[in-house]
Every structure is written in structure tokens, then in C-alpha cells.
């Protein structure tokens, strides 16, 4: 079957969303994955973006941002970030969020702030590479009952410890997160461009549970910056069905996910 790696990634993410849930999507790939789920198997999700666009479906392809006309034009309600992040997410009502990551570590902590030559002093020195900041991802990571992380699987992104925690995962593992009384439960899954990682229920370390049909356990281990544990029940992810591809491409009409594989 003809599909790209990014399409597999979006479909795998969409499969994580169940019908009827309240779901919040970040910019880009996560939005395509979310609206794909809405069209494919979850028509009754209560979807929103950080900008407060509620109950929309994109028109004309990948939205340019969280308040883009491509989604705001047919939204049920177009409110604001305070309603979306402040009330719906921070109160713990939101079931699931989808965020991206520049760097992610083995406990699902996400860095979108910057990269430092000496990460131990990151608060006091200028970064080597300044990234764009967490935006609403920190609220989603703290407030949603669970959240999904999407990231390209590369060694420089999948690191032992992130340079800076922009959006908290399980912090140092185990029950470290409980100390902070976040309303949300933490990351449930990391969907990468090669496979799927889920947290161990006790240590909260992310382990490999599925690999995509075009990848392998070896390839994934090679592209991970820590010694990735592999689940004994590791299996290959089901290929996208023709219906799934058709529904994804109905959202991604401009082919943003088909440009490169």
C-alpha cells in the first residue's frame, strides 16, 4: 500500500483517540491526526485548539495555526485561549491532548524551549539553539487526563534527559509526578516516525511496544539516545486501511504529509 511515514504516524496517533472524548490539538501534524480521528472513527469528539476554536473541521488543508481561518470558519464556537487552556484544560475536563516535541526523554518530558551547551546551567546562559517555547503544550501536559507526544524518531531528539523541561512528563520517573498535584495524568504514549512507545506502569520509563511496518526494533533502538527497553509483546503496527488513508487525505487535502516520507 502506498503511504508515507508521516501518514502512518498521523493515523497511529488518530487511533489513540476514542469517540466522545474532549480532545485538544497542537499545531501541525497533531491537528491533522486529531481531525483525521474525528472524520474516521470519532465523530462525536469535542475538539478544541489552544486558541479556543471548538468543534471545527479543517477546510482546504493543514491549518496554519491554532486560530487559522481553515478551522475557525466552520467552528461551533471561537472563544479564546483562556477558555480553552484556562478553563477546559486546567480544570481537568479535557480527556486527551496531542503535542509535538523538539526533544523528549525516557520519562516523556518534553523540551521545546532550547538547547544548551551546558544544560545544567540552562536558566542562566543564552541557549545554543533557541526554540519557539512551549505555547499551550505545558498546559496540555499538566491538565489533560492523558496526552500523546508526536516526534520524529532521531537520536538527537530522543535523549536520556532533556536540556530543559518545557512540558512535564513523568519527570524523574516512578511517582515523581504525583508531588506536583497536576490535574492531568501524564503522557500515555509517544508516537514516533518509526513506532510507538508506552510507559512502564511502575517505573514510567517509555518502552517500545510497536514498530511500524516499514521499520524494525533494531532501527528504532539505533535511533534512540537511551538504552531503549523493548516490550516482550512488541508487535508490528497494523498498516493504514484504505478507509483510514482516504479519511486522512480528506483532512490533509494539500498533501502536507505526502511531501516526503
Amino acid at each position: 500500500m502506498d503511504y508515507t511515514r508521516q501518514e502512518m504516524m498521523a493515523i497511529a496517533t488518530g487511533r489513540e483517540i476514542k469517540d466522545g472524548e474532549m480532545a485538544i490539538f497542537g499545531v501541525g501534524l497533531s491537528m491533522l491526526a486529531g481531525y483525521f480521528a474525528k472524520r474516521n472513527h470519532a465523530p462525536n469528539i469535542r475538539d478544541l485548539t489552544e486558541g479556543g476554536v471548538y468543534g471545527a473541521f479543517p477546510v482546504g488543508g493543514l491549518p496554519w495555526g491554532i486560530e487559522c481561518n481553515r478551522i475557525s470558519s466552520n467552528a461551533v464556537s471561537f472563544t479564546n485561549a483562556i477558555d480553552a487552556l484556562g478553563f477546559l484544560v486546567a480544570s481537568g475536563r479535557c480527556d486527551v491532548g496531542i503535542i509535538g516535541a523538539a526533544q523528549v526523554d525516557k520519562y516523556g518530558n518534553v523540551n521545546t524551549t532550547g538547547l544548551w551547551a551546558d544544560p545544567a546551567n540552562s536558566r542562566y546562559l543564552p541557549p545554543k539553539v533557541r526554540l519557539n517555547g512551549s505555547g499551550g503544550a505545558n498546559e496540555i501536559a499538566c491538565g489533560c487526563k492523558r496526552f500523546i507526544i508526536m516526534a520524529t524518531h532521531e537520536k538527537r531528539r530522543f535523549v536520556e534527559k532533556v536540556d530543559y523541561i518545557s512540558s512535564p512528563g513523568y519527570l524523574t520517573g516512578g511517582n515523581a509526578r504525583d508531588r506536583y498535584n497536576f490535574p492531568g495524568g501524564g503522557p500515555s504514549v509517544i508516537i514516533t516516525s518509526l513506532g510507538i512507545l508506552r510507559p512502564d506502569p511502575v517505573t514510567r520509563e517509555f518502552i517500545l511496544t510497536e514498530y511500524f511496518p516499514f521499520s524494525s526494533v533494531e532501527e528504532i533502538k539505533e535511533n534512540t539516545g537511551w538504552n531503549l527497553k523493548v516490550s516482550p509483546e512488541v508487535r508490528v503496527t497494523a498498516e493504514p486501511t484504505p478507509e483510514e488513508l482516504e479519511n486522512l487525505r480528506a483532512v490533509d487535502v494539500t498533501g502536507a504529509l505526502r511531501k516526503k516520507s
Binding site: 499545531v27 501541525g28 486558541g51 493543514l62 496554519w64 495555526g65 491554532i66 486560530e67 487559522c68 485561549a81 524551549t113 532550547g114 543564552p126 541557549p127 545554543k128 539553539v129 533557541r130 526554540l131 519557539n132 517555547g133 512551549s134 505555547g135 499551550g136 503544550a137 505545558n138 498546559e139 518545557s166 502536507a256
Partner: protein
């Protein structure tokens, strides 16, 4: 009644060195681009910028060297337009202090 309509250049003159500006819009959407261009021409210094998701207009001022502090949640252009080059360079060279909150 007080008349607020004025030429762009005169409006830009209202902002002095060291002041804090709240610039509206979100990334590439609805940012006051023409105003940022007019203000950048005046070569102001030590401006402070506050915004939820500053984008193009704020980046023009960062690139012009007019900004020393930014208070923000997200600073970039979103999607394939990526990171804001002026802000990024300023931060990496230590000219701009980034106060990221969310």
C-alpha cells in the same frame, strides 16, 4: 472628542526607548506588521514585548535590535515557516532575555 486617527509614522513615534509593548495577533495571523516596520525604522532601544504567541511583528523588532526582553508563551511562525529568526539570533547572542511562561 479626542481624535485617535493619525499617520503610521506619527503612531510609531509614540513608543519611546525602554517601553513595554503588547503586540496582538498570533504567530503570522493578525500581527501589526506595518506598525512594526514603521517602529523598526525609528531605531528604538530596550523595548520590552509581551504577547501570548508573538510572531512576525515582534520578530521584526527583535531583528532590528530594538528589543531587550520578551514575555511570551510561544514565539515562532508555526508549521513550515518554523522558528522566528530575529528572536532566535537575539537570544542565542544574549541580547534578548526570554521570559517564557505558559
Amino acid at each position: 472628542m479626542c481624535r485617535k486617527v493619525m499617520p503610521m509614522a506619527a503612531a510609531a513615534e509614540l513608543v519611546k526607548d525602554g517601553q513595554m509593548l503588547a503586540l496582538g495577533g498570533n504567530a503570522l495571523h493578525r500581527t501589526p506588521a506595518a506598525y512594526a516596520h514603521a517602529l523598526a525604522r525609528l531605531k528604538r532601544f530596550n523595548l520590552k514585548i509581551a504577547g501570548a504567541a508573538p510572531g512576525y511583528a515582534s520578530d521584526v523588532l527583535c531583528a532590528a535590535g530594538a528589543v531587550d526582553t520578551v514575555y511570551f508563551g510561544f514565539f515562532g511562525f508555526e508549521n513550515e515557516y518554523g522558528l522566528a529568526a530575529g528572536f532566535r539570533k537575539g537570544c542565542q547572542e544574549g541580547r534578548i532575555k526570554a521570559i517564557e511562561g505558559s
